[in-house]
């Protein structure tokens, strides 16, 4: 096993999955929001809801397409770079990902077609139903991915036979309490991503004093949803912390930069962990029992320190320590923006407060940063294990993979993704600038279920038309 190839493979996986997660986390939340908009439109008959719906549907199309393209790579990468993992955990991870593909194909692909060109052909309630089914499909995809990843975090319901993890209790795998803390955490993170992107767009339009009616809907709905969801998200985040504390002491100790066993434990707020000396520099620490209280909901619980764990089983301490704090910081910032914004909104002062509009506009990267750093905490914190406690990442790699080959593939993925990402962002930006305008979109002649991005063509065409008129 070549250590350089291992490092490059890990970088490649981190890069491709980080690129990928940006799009589904946005589309899962957006699909749910589109369902709400369509329901509101059916209920109130306000045309503004239709306009906002059509507008975000186009953006949904591009993000969905990029998510699909970057997802295909993931399905191959387990076999190419992590073939030992693929062989050993195939009986468990394989069917979970197969379910993901099958259900996504069945639900998203078929009902997305109705969204794109079914408006004049189906009854309104069926259109709403299709929107809900697309949202359900994206949620189901997230569910299967989270089952898969939660099994890698805390493997349950299996026996080892002939060098493979053989499932012997699917109910345990599917109803693992770890999963049911992590899946809602991811789901709400996606909803928050959608909410903040929508609210930020609304704030941007209000700052530019354009599309005010639609912008108000976006701003108030986005911030209102976030005001409710961020606290819920914090609770589920805390529940995720509990599973880490129970099942992954090494990750917990790294997140908390706790070097020695403590009972009751103190809580490091900020520090520079010095791994070599096993101590924290420049630490701001809350005294005991805050650490026990935060990690175990107890005034006296013992908390494990890193020196109770053999160093070869430590994760790289700095990464989970800092990514966790960045995630929490983003969460707190989102909470403040959502609560202050909603409070101002209730007093009808939000739209006059340019400062708050600017803050909301600039907040759209926060949920993305929180999702990425949260995942880095979970995945880097799990190291050196790929399946926690039973299979090391170094042993999971394709044993004969060489550094040059891994370097070539990493560079190719970086180049290709950068290329398509730049163009994707360019088109989304163009759509955002154009805004929710124009005649309500007619059924695109050639847009079809499997070509989400083709809605955009239609927009371009209709623009040319209106320019020509």
């Amino acid at each position: 096993m070549d250590p350089t190839a291992l490092l490059l493979s890990r970088l490649q996986f981190a890069f491709t999955i980080s690129f990928h997660i940006i799009f589904p986390s946005f589309t899962i939340g957006l699909a749910a929001w589109l369902t709400v908009l369509e329901a509101l439109h059916l209920w109130t008959r306000r045309p503004a809801y239709r306009l906002v719906f059509e507008f975000w549907l186009k953006i949904f199309g591009i993000a969905f397409g990029l998510g699909v393209v970057s997802g295909i790579v993931m399905a191959f990468q387990f076999g190419s770079n992590w073939s030992v993992l693929a062989r050993m955990s195939g009986p468990i991870q394989g069917p979970l990902l197969a379910y993901e593909t099958f259900t996504a194909f069945a639900l998203e692909a078929s009902f997305f077609g109705v969204l794109l060109f079914g408006r004049p052909r189906v009854r309104p309630w069926f259109y709403l139903f299709s929107t809900a089914m697309v949202a359900f499909g994206t949620t189901l995809s997230a569910f299967w991915i989270m089952v898969n990843n939660s099994w890698m975090q805390v493997p349950v319901g299996y026996v080892v036979r002939n060098g493979q993890f053989v499932p012997d209790d699917w109910a345990t795998i599917l109803f693992s309490p770890v999963l049911w803390a992590r899946f809602p955490h991811m789901l709400f993170a996606s909803y928050l991503t959608g909410a903040f992107c929508v609210a930020a767009t609304g704030a941007w339009y209000l700052l530019r004093r354009v599309f005010t009616a639609e912008a108000r809907i976006m701003l108030h709905m986005g911030l209102g949803l976030a005001a409710v969801l961020v606290p819920v998200q914090l609770i589920f985040g805390h529940l995720c912390g509990e599973y880490v504390d129970h099942h992954q002491p090494s990750k917990m100790a790294a997140i908390e930069a706790r070097w020695h066993n403590q009972q009751p434990a103190s809580e490091v707020l900020f520090a520079w962990p010095d791994v070599a000396k096993r101590q924290n520099l420049f630490a701001i620490t809350l005294p005991p029992p805050f650490g026990s209280l935060i990690d175990s909901d107890s005034l006296s619980a013992p908390e494990a320190g890193l020196d109770s764990i053999p160093p070869q089983n430590w994760p790289p301490v700095l990464i989970p320590f800092f990514t966790f704090r960045i995630m929490v910081g983003c969460g707190v910032a989102m909470l403040l923006i959502a609560w202050i914004g909603t409070w101002l909104g209730r007093k009808h002062r939000l739209e006059q407060s340019r400062l708050m509009l600017w803050a909301t506009f600039l907040s759209f990267p926060l949920p993305y940063i929180a999702i990425l750093t949260g995942w880095y905490t979970a995945e880097v914190g799990r190291q050196p294990w790929v399946v926690y406690g039973v299979l090391r990442t170094a042993d999971a790699m394709t044993p004969f993979l060489t550094a040059p080959a891994a370097l070539v593939s990493l560079l190719v993925f970086c180049t290709v993704y950068a290329f398509i990402f730049i163009f994707g962002v360019f088109y989304i930006h163009k759509l955002l600038r154009t805004g929710p305008v124009g005649p309500l979109i007619l059924p695109p002649a050639g847009a079809v279920p499997n070509r989400p991005m083709s809605v955009v063509n239609n927009l371009a065409d209709s623009q040319q038309l209106s320019a020509g008129e």
């Binding site: 379910y99 398509i420 371009a460």
Partner: protein
């Protein structure tokens, strides 16, 4: 249970080869013309369906992983670089469908991406099949051939052969879907492509004899296998006849039949090996608890739905592409 998943895998792979085969082929033909209007018509002949076609690749991939993880792990790691190049090609050509139309000055980039990506992805697929037929160095279910162990003259030959094969499929699809100049050009190209494919088959056969590939011995042992090449020959004759008589809708189905016959020939001549001649279906299959978990929902409910959905998607867009639809 194992048989069921072998069947699902075979159906998914065959569907992928036939469906993505013709749209990759059209991608290659796209590179052979410079006339903008023809290019636009060629793209609109496949734009509604290519993405659904490609989904079958992912379906085949995840079924392989779930049901036969040993094969998934061995092959995907063995074909490290080819798979990388194939994925890059598929991504670039896929994105070209969406971006080309919007680009003005940059259009040539997407043209190159579309034709080049299609050609490269096709060549690599043929190359991998060729390497598999020739025999990959595998020990204890693990590939041992190094980073270029799949590369051989025979594999390259098969890559070139598949380019002819897919392009032929693509030309037949154009004949079926288009009118006017595009259809006539495709009709003119079909004989050349068919001859190219025929030459390739003869060379492959000679090569196999010369190299004494192990697959030949199985043919001697199992003479009933000659049924499938016979079906292929009949289909080829019918295809030639329909091209001569300009029966637009027939050639595509006949060439599909040739592909299906070739596929069956390959599959049966290796049976029960999944990686010839080192890993059998039985060695590779997942434990019963895995296959049963997949079977009771994904297998008997979702998979048939996917087949129906694919059929509907293809029939909704049947009929000729008219010139007015060229910009979707």
């Amino acid at each position: 249970m194992v048989t069921f998943w072998v069947a699902v895998l075979i159906i998914s792979m065959l569907l992928y080869v036939l469906l993505d085969g013709f749209d990759l082929g059209i991608g290659i033909l796209f590179g052979l013309t410079r006339v903008e209007i023809k290019r636009a018509i060629m793209m609109s002949a496949i734009s509604p369906i290519w993405d659904g076609n490609e989904t079958w690749l992912v379906v085949a991939g995840v079924v392989l992983w779930a049901a036969f993880p040993v094969v998934y792990a061995a092959l995907f790691s063995a074909f490290y670089l080819p798979l990388l190049v194939m994925l890059a090609g598929l991504i670039l050509r896929g994105v070209a469908f969406e971006y080309r139309h919007k680009a003005e000055r940059m259009r040539w980039v997407w043209d190159v991406g579309f034709a080049g990506g299609s050609l490269v992805a096709t060549f690599i697929q043929g190359l991998m099949v060729g390497a598999l037929v020739e025999g990959l160095p595998i020990a204890n279910g693990q590939y041992t051939g190094g980073i270029f162990g799949w590369l051989s003259p025979f594999a390259v030959l098969c890559g070139i052969g598949l380019c002819f094969g897919y392009t032929l499929l693509g030309a037949c699809w154009l004949v079926n879907k288009c009118e006017g100049e595009v259809r006539d050009t495709a009709y003119r190209q079909i004989p050349y492509l068919a001859i190219g494919l025929l030459v390739f088959l003869v060379v492959v056969f000679a090569f196999a004899l010369f190299e004494d590939l192990p697959v030949l011995r199985r043919w001697v042992d199992r003479p009933y296998l000659f049924v499938f090449p016979a079906i292929g020959i009949v289909a080829a004759l019918l295809a030639a006849n329909s091209v001569r008589r300009r029966h637009d809708s027939v050639p595509f189905f006949m060439v599909s039949l040739i592909f299906a016959a070739a596929f069956a020939t390959l599959a049966l001549s290796f049976w029960p090996y999944m990686i010839p001649f080192s890993v059998t279906i039985k060695d590779a299959a997942s434990p019963h608890s895995t296959l049963a978990f997949l079977f009771w929902f994904a297998g008997i409910i979702v998979f048939p739905l996917m087949l129906i959905y694919t059929a509907i998607n293809l029939t909704v867009f049947k009929g000729k592409v008219s010139a007015s639809e060229q910009h979707y």
